[in-house]
Symmetry: C2
DNA sequence: AAAACTGTAACAAAATTATTTACAATATAA
DNA sequence: TTATATTGTAAATAATTTTGTTACAGTTTT
């Protein structure tokens, strides 16, 4: 079939850029008010390659934020109301591993600190990310989109 | 003199890995209870190269967390009490640009959304990061270090 | 049948991060 | 005072991750 996009051999990635792109796409779709929008057009506003947009659209679709129509005059629209899409959910759709990241972190298991640090870092990162998502959840796509004239 | 380390030509960087390393170093120094610890020894616990440790130590020193002694039998100790170093301050010492990042983001200025999105993203990211730092500040290095036997 | 799309894959390039090596400077100790 | 350990810094290299490009098969409309 089709393996997840954007994944490297360690199944690890950071959470930059993509959040901006995803949010930008969603705002544009909200402004389009249900009109089908092509990836070409979206790419024009974001100033990136249409294929990049389509990659992000795959993810947004898998998360139920958008729906697409293939073929001529096809394109994408929001799949739910902008007020029902929280920024935290968008963040979660683009994030992969831990926020503060310790990608390849293999401390010395013979050191009492090294042996346990990953577990403690995980706890810390999870707590911190929870707070971050809660903060983002205070705003919906509709709220954010409203900032644009 | 000496330009900031870890900086690329755009003066931009993410905030991963280095937080883990910085915190790991600081916990080890706390456990050493004022004994001078060599970068070699620190590197052994973290399982990275001593030069990496020394790079991070430069930053930690500049931020007033540690102090070092050169020459034979030299090494590093904490420069203040672990209870006076908050995790938020450590985070701020390793972070460079924005948390959710939009590094090279040059949207189409002719698009009403593209034209304004960076300003709105900046606002969102700043608010979010503020909350993240507040959360980290709830814990001091002493608190975190106490988790290790 | 032609045209305009999306969906997917594979590849290429750029950017970032991590690692290694090297060595001058400094301080201790034999 | 000479050898040794250790930091401080730079530079180069390697690995990884991220971003961008190209290509084309499959779909749907005209």
């Amino acid at each position: 079939m089709f393996l997840p996009l954007y994944c490297n051999k360690n199944n690890y990635r950071m959470n930059n850029g993509r959040f901006s792109i995803a949010l930008h796409i969603l705002v544009l779709l909200d402004k389009a008010q249900g009109e089908l929008v092509s990836s070409e057009w979206l790419a024009g506003s974001i100033n990136i390659n249409p294929a990049m947009v389509r990659k992000e659209l795959i993810s947004l679709r898998q998360h139920g934020f958008v729906q697409s129509k293939e073929g001529k005059n096809g394109g994408t629209t929001l799949a739910k109301k902008a007020s029902e899409i929280s920024l935290g959910a968008i963040y979660e759709s683009v994030r992969q591993l831990s926020l503060l990241g310790h990608q390849k972190n293999t401390p010395n298991p013979q050191c009492p600190v090294g042996k346990n640090i990953n577990a403690h870092l995980d706890g810390l990162y999870n707590d911190t990310e929870r707070v971050l998502i809660d903060q983002l959840n205070k705003q919906s796509l509709a709220d954010f989109s409203a900032k644009f004239g």
